[in-house]
């Protein structure tokens, strides 16, 4: 059975989740056991190394944005802690009236 987290390119600092990961799951990152503390869905990203604000995120070997918050190895990397270097992403809350 393949690993739950896959590395797309050797230079990447994030891994991609291949099957849903429940909190408390022990995953393998670069040969070491790392406990995943958050639920991670298929297609989502996990930090391969400890990440700092301003770090460029590499996926497919290409830059896909920058970190905005500290995130430990094994942490979920998504809109709460990283952003585009081009155009901001929006969510469904972008319209439909103020929450």
């Amino acid at each position: 059975m393949p690993e739950a987290l896959i590395l797309l390119h050797p230079t990447d600092n994030v891994l991609v989740c291949r099957e849903t990961i429940a909190p408390g799951t022990v995953a393998t990152i670069d040969g070491e056991a790392v406990t995943i503390t958050q639920p991670i869905e298929v297609g989502h990203k996990v930090a391969r190394v400890d990440l700092r604000p301003g770090d460029k995120i590499l996926k497919y070997g290409a830059p896909i944005g920058s970190m905005t918050k500290d995130t430990p190895r094994g942490g979920h990397v998504h809109m709460h802690n990283m952003q585009s270097d081009y155009i901001p992403s929006h969510t469904r809350n972008a319209s439909g009236g103020a929450a």
Binding site: H44, I64, D85, S89
Partner: protein, 402 residues
Amino acid sequence: MTAPFKGYLRADGRKGIRNVVAVAYLVECAHHVARQIVQKSDDMDVHLIGFPGCYPNDYAFKVMSAVTTHPNVGGVLLISLGCESFNRERLKSAIEASGRPCEVLVIQNSGGTLSTIQKGREAVERLKAIAAETPVVDMDVSELVIGTICGGSDGTSGITANPAVGRAFDWFGAQGAACVFEETGELVGCETIMASRAITPELGAALEACVQKAEAYYTVMGYGSFAPGNAEGGLTTQEEKSMGAYSKSGAAPICGILQPGDIPPTGGLYLLDVVPDGEPRFGFPNISDNAEIVELIACGSHVTLFTTGRGSVVGSAISPVIKVCANPDTYRKLSEDMDIDAGKIMEGRATLDAVGQEIIDSVLATAAGQRTKSEAMGHQEFILTYKAFDPLGPACLPLKRA
């Protein structure tokens, strides 16, 4: 290596894989009448297309001309209200010049709604009879034009379905088919990598300029080409989505840039520039996926490869859509809509090359007449709105013969 399939030989020399009669409304005011004609015809090869606007637009005219003279089209009925700006006589002339039969009904001169519907149904029967006489001849893989689009992308799209389409594109391009990828707004962040694949340095610069234009345009719009579902599926940024989308283009050299309605002058890989030129005037470049599919069809696409992670269900009028599902969970939820399960790559049950081959086989089967899932279920979406383009620069089509 591949047995040729049969195609419909049009009088203009192009070959189609379907024999569709298109019923086109030329303003929203004629939409209901046109739709009734199509529905009452009760024939899955009579398709509804149209343009809703009352104001003139060169782009809309060009796309409508290209779609109504598409090789899959064997005849056209135009439904006009009568007072709209669309130049119905010029469109009719263009269709007839391509050797296709065309009839026009003007509602204001045809007795109104019910009378026009009745006359339209009779016209469709006449057009079908003429289209049925179209010669059926051998058609080679190299005569295909294949488009690709992604919709409802997620974090699996760029790992499974998109690169698998890239594998298929590399194969079709090597056979001499024309392959078209698009949505420059979803190439933001990939411009430098993409430019390095251009067959001339000038084309490379034009490819980069295309993406820069898209970035500027979407910045004015206030939203990138990024939907909430993309984020729910694990994509965080525009450039991350772009890297995944870009992989649909495969690894072949890029031969040129097209605008909607331009036919690829040779086989090989082309980028379709879908973002308007000049100051943003008419809103978002493409308001949803089907507007892009229409543009791919306007460039002659016989088949469109549609990759989806979250799970789109659409098809299109005129040319069949093959749905390649990137996400294994989505495939299990929506298998009735999906032609190909690329999500099995995610689960280690298939390789990219194996799914790429499945896509090739599916295109060839579709070209040979097999209905795709969306086609068989009657999906015939069609959207055409306003845009403005400047003429293509000389660097964009290095292979076009003068």
